[in-house]
Amino acid sequence: MLDSITFYFFAGVAVLSAALMVTRRNAVHSAVLLVTTLLATAGIFLQLRAEFIFITQIILYVGGIMVLFIFVIMLVRLDVALQHMRFRLQRWVALFVALALGVEITVVFLFARRLPGQGLLIQEPAPADKLPPNTEELARSLFSSYLLPFEIASVLLLVAMVGAVVMAKKRIDQ
């Protein structure tokens, strides 16, 4: 019962703020709405008992990436009146693509359950209080089976840091 209420609440907030986010003219409003969407997604993670991903989403995505976005939006702030959607045709293309994709995935999912022996095997999830502690399980898996991707991710972050600094640095010789 509690699970249902939390899921519907967070899902509703996520979809509503995402829909608002892609339609705002003011980029800072879009950023704040994306923050709301990310917090609602973190709530979904918490509802799925994935506590470490929940807190990683809040620390990294909301506390790091969104602050970066808001900084850049402040830096490149242009007049709001210039922003109006000029692409009439593009809107219909986007809606058609979204509709096509949505219908396709829905059909795959709904029909897959009816074909015996084929399609998705979906079992009942384990009850919540019999789950192993999330952080310990994640750490055990991360440092044994997925150690190589972990090290590669750290190299990736280093490269991205160097790249971002080089990109955004002012060229003093020009």
Binding site: T41, A94, M161
Partner: protein, 100 residues
Amino acid sequence: MISPAHYLFLSLALFLIGAIGVITRRNVIVVLMSIELILNAVNINLVAFSRIFGDVSGQVFALFIIADAAAEAAVGLGIIIAFFRNRETVFADEMDLLKW
């Protein structure tokens, strides 16, 4: 009561809204934000199925996606800043230097 279908449809909805945002918006920063939305939709899917199958690999993958999204946002915003410094614009239709 909350079946896996609920999570799949939520993830689908966020993915589609993100795709609409990427195709429709002029401001490339908002396009980048819509890409983050798409990545979040994928994360919800991964974590939901990790919970259903009891395998923590889904959450490990979601963790890597979050780290990767941070790196990509940093580099992407660096490129936008560099371009803005040269051309004074962040609108996709005005970035037409290579047009013949």
